[in-house]
């Protein structure tokens, strides 16, 4: 098997694996750029996956067919945004500790989702959804040699994730809204003095984050796991946080980091089937993504600069 054939297998896997991570990491950026720590990404993804599967099942039953997973994603965005109020209200209005809140929300999300699955279906995991997001071959592009590694056997959601990253970058760095969002995360008092409503901006930041988190969970559930159980989302939210930090709170950086994770995972998983790599004992391949991440964080990226006011509740008039 030549080098190209290897890439034809590895790249689509990396793209599929990265999509939910990119989307969730973007969510983290909006929240943290506004000054609210978002450990709750994992929980938001759980709610998104749960909502995605339940709505996809219901919509399919109503006869929506192939459109059902896409509509389910929209529902998951709305539910994610609403669920993120559990973080926004105590963190912004009542100045609760944001890290503790995030951890609590992660536990709440799993418990609530499983409780509801039991209430709806009388069992601990849902059935598989009949209509899902499938891997597709992009017309024309998937026939071109070399280039086809990006266009054959891929999920459209991977492209959506990458486009969203560019949109998010534009919004955060090139629009007045983005400037305000960043200013309340860096120096809320200065922003307040200039007439920016800090509370409102932070609410918007966290709710956008909730929408992204919900979408990320729904993407994973409707394209990869196809059903929802307690183990559907298991650590992906935390990987997304790592991607966000790795990418220095920049949407494009986070996207690159998530793609890097995806690529490392893909190599790690199917390395056993590839020439040369199959000579390496599997345990080294399995730990490789994590070792690479540590090396990259420690050596290449340099200091990770968080927004200055992240995690600090804003109290008007306090110096």
């Amino acid at each position: 098997m030549g080098f190209l054939e290897v890439l034809y297998i590895v790249v689509p896997i990396a793209l599929a694996y990265s999509a939910p991570l990119i989307i969730a990491a973007l969510g983290g950026i909006f929240s943290e750029r506004s000054g609210v720590v978002n450990i709750a990404l994992e929980g938001l993804m759980v709610m998104g996956a749960f909502t995605g599967i339940v709505s996809a099942l219901t919509l399919s039953k109503m006869g929506l067919g192939a459109a059902s997973p896409w509509v389910a994603m929209l529902v998951a965005i709305v539910v994610g945004a609403i669920f993120s109020l559990f973080l926004a209200v105590p963190a912004i209005l009542f100045r609760a500790d944001q890290t503790v809140l995030g951890v609590a929300i992660n536990m709440l999300a799993v418990g609530l989702a499983i409780f509801l699955v039991r209430a709806f279906y009388g069992k601990g995991q849902t059935d598989s959804i009949p209509n899902r997001i499938s891997k597709e071959n992009v017309p024309f592009l998937s026939d071109i040699p070399v280039l086809k590694m990006f266009f054959a056997n891929v999920y459209y959601t991977s492209y959506i994730a990458i486009i969203l990253a560019f949109v998010a970058w534009f919004v955060v760095f090139k629009t007045p809204f983005g400037l305000r969002l960043r200013s309340v995360g860096e120096h809320p008092m200065a922003a307040d003095t200039m007439g920016i409503n800090v509370t409102k901006m932070r609410f918007i930041g966290v709710m956008i984050s909730g929408g992204f988190g919900g979408l990320a969970g729904a993407v994973y559930a409707t394209s990869i796991s196809l059903n929802f159980s307690v183990t559907t989302i298991l650590g992906q939210g935390f990987l997304a946080i790592a991607a966000m930090i790795f990418g220095k709170w920049n949407p494009l950086g986070a996207m690159a980091a998530a793609l890097f994770f995806g690529f490392a995972q893909a190599i790690s998983i199917i390395g056993q089937q590839l020439p040369l790599l199959d000579q390496i004992p599997q345990v080294y391949l399995l730990i490789a993504p994590y070792v690479l991440t540590i090396l990259a964080l420690a050596g290449v990226v340099g200091r990770a600069d968080a927004p200055k006011a992240v995690g600090v509740p804003y109290i008007k008039g306090k110096r």
């Binding site: 297998i9 995991q125 499938s134 056997n153 990869i224 196809l226 995972q265 199917i270 056993q272 089937q273």
Partner: protein, 356 residues
Amino acid sequence: MKKKSLLALAATGLAMSSVLAACGSNDDSKDSGSSEKDGFKVGMVTDTGGVDDKSFNQSAWEGIQKFGKDNDLKEGTGYKYLQSAKQSDYQPNLQQLARAKYDLILGIGFLMAEDIGKVADQFKDKNFALVDMVVDKPNVASIVFKENEGSFLVGVVAGLTTKTDKVGFVGGVNSDLIKKFESGFKAGVMAVNPDAKVEVQYAEDFNAAEKGQAIASGMYGKKVDVIYHAAGGTGQGVFTEAKNRKKNGEDVWVIGVDRDQVEEGMPENVTLTSMVKRVDTAVEQVAKDTKDGNFPAGKVVEFGLKDGGVDIAPSQDNVAKDVLTKVEDYKKQIIDGKITVPATDDEYKEYEASLK
């Protein structure tokens, strides 16, 4: 100073005696034979998969439910299950059932082996049973299956169905248990199609659908056309990948495991067949024996093809007729003892050598 320490001593003494007294009363009630008063009680502890994992937890629970109904037991008092959300729940759950004086306490899944051993030592007068692994304690019965025999049959199906002469095996975690599936499967393939190549990979995870999908994607990409998975939730990803490929016109199949997984293959219908493990039959059998006073204490109870403990699933519509006749033929040979199906890497090597 002296007075205080004396007081403390007295207090500890009092506390100790009350503890001892509690123990004593416990023993008393045990002697009076609570089981006869309340009727037979059987309980099970799930592993982290949960009671409706569509796999062996669910199957075990179905067996207990059937046993309960046949013996007019009530759910909750006569028979019940405790769910384990994480590994650290195993011991407390087992202890809880032991304290509640259950006559038979089942641990489901080999992940629980160590914990059931410890709890069995703490409650020497209670009967424990473990599914899927051998624990050598005088009050533990080990219920194991000859998965290699069932896997042999689906191996025969895979070997005769493949058009590319390449089949795949995706395992959950590389362990003695999953090796039984792998060895049996490979032996089955080799028996009918010595030219076939079997690709084997372990995900080292039972709950990572994305890993299962990636592995399957790699295998199908290398022209494997039938994959047998023994990987729990990770196998879900194998089905996802197969469905995607079939939708795009590729001719690929998945062989399910533990139960009839025909539903998982819908709507593209990618499930060739499944290797079923009748945990329900086995659990029901052991519960029945225990109730009749024949608890297989300290013994290994093995369920193979002969006892209906493992088999090929009833959904066989996707398998060709002549393949099924071959399967029946091999099934008879295994039951008659004409073929000994390998269960480990070493046994497989011997088996392979004997074919040549």
